[in-house]
Symmetry: C2
Subunit: 557 residues, 2 copies
């Protein structure tokens, strides 16, 4: 073991010297990465050479091309909702197509996301913690900000490597033009600008069913501020367009009201478009990146249902079964089109259950504690699978820690696009190619996660230990430690065992993470006028934007 | 739908008429059974005929014999601890042999036990709710009562059908002679009289490690009552004997102290004896019933450990891995001896996790709420598998409700011993043969459980609904209902949805259950002098018995 000073000198040396192995050269990572690199550089270099060889062999067998990539990101699912028939059974539903898929895929058992939709999607797209560009929060209404155009997102890397790119479904990374998929690197996008709050909670059927109260069904006798309540039907719904081309709203005409039927129609259209895009892309000359981020299983009304389709009968669970059918169609189509074998498919949840709608949703947290927006494991541990026939072990388990941002770096590597990862900023994602390709947990390049809620670090996981960071002003000596192997639900703090040693080490981890921000400071999101550049903006939408701008510019000081 | 009166007339008629189908004739069941029979009698008769045919075919292929039966009942495991690799992984351990076994077996996904060791074992042995003979409670020390000899337990049925029978391991159904395995129908038994409290918590190593405090390591300056604290080393440990033959204690000499090493030695001896008995029985001329009820994974000391064997490192988890090895040896031996194919193996837990030792045990409740002694699902839902190659679907799931008492009736049926089920008392177990043999949930004969804690009914499950019975004096209108499909952890009461209808129906279920006790009243356990008839009783054990008897006979009124 090194003494204190010797250890720090070693780390300084690692920082100073450019790592000599190939793929990750000059990408700047967070501090903890270099601690691991100092211990494993030699192994990693050997692994990198083996990864290069495996990828080269694949390309050789695939007419010189890297694999196609399909990303399916499902909203608000907990760990154990997909791919474990026993856990389907005890909850009275089944997802046979997803379960079959999982038998052909590697389960990333310790995939960590961010605690809610926007930040998880940002991390997957940018390879960076959302806090780094002010995208750690989830906006539900017109907000005038979003993902900055200066981020170099995954499809931008892939395009440089020759990929055709399409995005269909949920986007939810901002209502300003520069944030949108077709302006961020996708050749084509059909995307919901906002999220399902607008579309399933504030819609007219939901108001009738009192899913939401006080939005439109209230007595306005005493109302002075007509702008206080959102008119969700006035908000932008689904937009469509090609990169550089015009962008149009496609699901609403002026005067129309959003309702449950329109939500169903939108979801069906996303599915149909995905099938269509898959067919088009599969017939192209280049490898493709197809992103299908469905809005279901989220649904909050009984309107339009013909009856419960599962024994469970929950609102989300029934739609989960529908999504399973749709994904079954997608997987079957991949077979028919001859792209099942040369495509990496990543299927996962984006964060834990939306517990506000438990139990009528049919889902409640189970194995891990908490759900969406919680920084307990139930908020950030999800089902996650990666299928790549012949390259990634079928029906395998990978129990090393992976963060959703690692998909950025890893998929870029698979695509031969890692050289385009920007070198001028900090990249949180690490390259997990070796552990995935060789089904070897010891080849993972991450053993920790810093879990943020918006812009506040709330917890740190290292190995199986989790420290719940105490709020400001609370003595850190009483911070709670959990052993995640022995206590998945974080109900039995074990401070006495690990506090004395671990507390100090964890403080150092956080300290190194924060110190690294001096060189790579967090920045703001992109601010702007909502919906600018949408050709057919509805008058009611324009009025809502105008009201937003007045509110935004009202004196605050 | 029937009107109230018509329905009751029908039920009365069903009660009056002897059911005409074969196997279950004249067995008296609890009230709810007849409600189902009134609705399914025709189907059940057809199923019974098909079961008879399947069993006859098996016997034909097996030299005229019914199958051997092996019962492995593991202490204090929660649902999801065995057979689901993903759930092993997130907790840092693996049970590969059990998982392979589960792939060859039917998982009984909704197996309900009683909330703790003694009552579960009593239910499996007698086919009756433990409350019916005062065995609903778990005694940890010398108690002078146990399972009455008048109970006709499973091996007694099987012996009448020509089986050889052996029991090895935990018994824990009483310290009076008539309760013991070798006096209750087993040809041979080597059994721990009590449980792991005595053997892992009160032992000298555990006292040193402060697992238990105030038992022997206390300042006795003010002690008047030397009998207050148990001397666990004086209690009877393991006894061995043949039916009708002498019974001897085999693990302790006078003057010896119990400790962690002796616990390990005892467990190894149980395993070795099981392997030996399997070999002996497999070479016999008759079908056999071998019961192996291990004491591990329960263990509460670090003494004698060479280090954590799992990544989890918990005290129980490490021993679970050891048990997995042992069971792997057992399954391999069954193959070698040629009895894998003609043997029904039932492997299951006896109740939920012992949460008092969480998280250092390595196990904490996860999917269901609560553990041992709780009447929430976490107390009574367990992993349960049944393997019978060629007869019961491999890697199957059966999601209909099964109670541990149903093993009595069902295994008796498989063995052709159901004609020996006593007709003079109420049998709670129902025959689940059809659902198991035909892998058909709709052929289950139970849709409810009444969950007792000791002699008090605490909850009723019917279909996916669970009513938590309010304590006496609390208005039942606020009783909590849970939808178990949507809420495995019973955290979101749904009274508003089902209370109005369900409350009344559940009160009727309980009413019918209690009314049935007028004809078949609950009886007492067997009372007696502890350890009578053990040849080599140690002087210190005799002294502890004498002290117990004085305490028992001290004036109480």
């Amino acid at each position: 073991m090194f003494r204190h000073t010797a250890k720090f000198c070693l780390i300084a040396a690692v920082f100073a010297a450019s790592p000599s192995y190939a793929q990750d050269a000059n990408v700047s990572h967070d501090a903890e990465y270099y601690i691991l690199q100092a211990q494993h550089a030699e192994q990693w270099a050997a692994d990198d050479a083996a990864v290069d060889e495996a990828l080269a062999q694949f390309r050789e067998s695939n007419a010189g091309n890297p694999p196609n990539i399909v990303s399916i990101l499902i909203d608000d699912l907990g760990f154990g909702d997909m791919g474990i028939p026993e856990l389907n059974a005890i909850r009275g539903y089944s997802t046979p197509n997803i379960n079959d898929f999982s038998d052909e895929a590697m389960r990333m058992v310790r995939m960590y996301t961010e605690p809610s939709c926007t930040p998880t999607r940002v991390a997957q797209m940018t390879g960076r913690l959302p806090v780094r560009m002010g995208m750690g929060d989830t906006a539900v209404d017109i907000a005038g900000f979003g993902l900055p155009g200066s981020e170099v997102i995954l499809p931008e890397l892939l395009k440089q490597a020759g990929y055709a790119t399409s995005h269909i479904g949920k986007w939810h990374m901002g209502d300003v033009a520069e944030s949108w998929a077709m302006n961020q690197g996708f050749d084509y996008a059909q995307m919901a600008v906002h999220q399902q709050g607008q579309l399933t909670i504030f819609n007219d059927d939901a108001i009738k069913e009192q899913v939401s109260v006080g939005i439109q069904d209230y007595d306005d006798a005493y109302t002075l501020d007509d702008w206080f309540r959102p008119d969700a039907s006035a908000m932008m719904t689904v937009i469509e367009g090609d990169a550089g081309g015009p962008i149009r709203e496609v699901r609403m005409e002026s005067g129309e009201r959003w309702n449950a039927a329109k939500y169903d129609e939108m979801n069906q259209a996303f599915q149909d478009k995905t099938m269509e895009e898959l067919e088009r892309l599969a017939q192209g000359d280049t490898p493709f990146f197809l992103q299908y981020w469905p809005m279901i299983p989220l649904d909050n009304t009984r309107a339009g249902r013909s009856g419960p389709e599962s024994v469970n009968g929950g609102l989300y669970v029934d739609k989960m079964q529908l999504l399973d059918e749709w994904l079954g169609d997608l997987f079957a189509s991949m077979e028919e089109l001859g792209v099942a074998e040369n495509t990496v498919v990543v299927l996962m949840g984006d964060n834990g259950h939306f517990t506000k709608y438990s139990p009528q949703s049919g889902f409640t947290p189970m194995i891990f504690r908490g759900g969406k927006a919680d920084t307990t494991e139930g908020g950030v541990r999800v089902d996650a699978f990666m299928r790549w026939p012949g390259m990634i072990e079928a029906d395998g388990l990978l129990n090393s820690i992976i963060h959703v941002s690692d998909l950025y770096t890893t998929l870029a590597r698979f695509a031969g696009a890692d050289e385009f990862i920007p070198r001028d900023r900090l990249i949180d994602g690490v390259d997990q190619s070796a552990s995935l390709l060789f089904a070897d947990e010891a080849k993972g390049r991450r053993d920790h996660i810093i879990i943020y809620s918006a812009d506040v670090p709330k917890a740190i996981v290292k190995d199986q230990l989790k420290l719940k960071l105490p709020p400001k002003g609370e003595n850190p000596i009483i911070a709670k430690f959990y052993d995640l192997y022995r206590d998945t639900r974080e109900e039995y703090p074990v401070s006495t065992e690990v506090g004395a040693w671990g507390g100090q080490e964890f403080v150092r981890i956080l300290g190194r993470h924060l110190a690294r921000k001096e060189k790579y400071p967090d920045g703001p999101p992109a601010f702007g006028v909502p919906y600018e550049g949408i050709e057919n903006i509805r008058p009611e939408t324009q009025a809502a934007v105008d009201a937003f701008l007045v509110k935004q510019q009202s004196p605050k000081q």
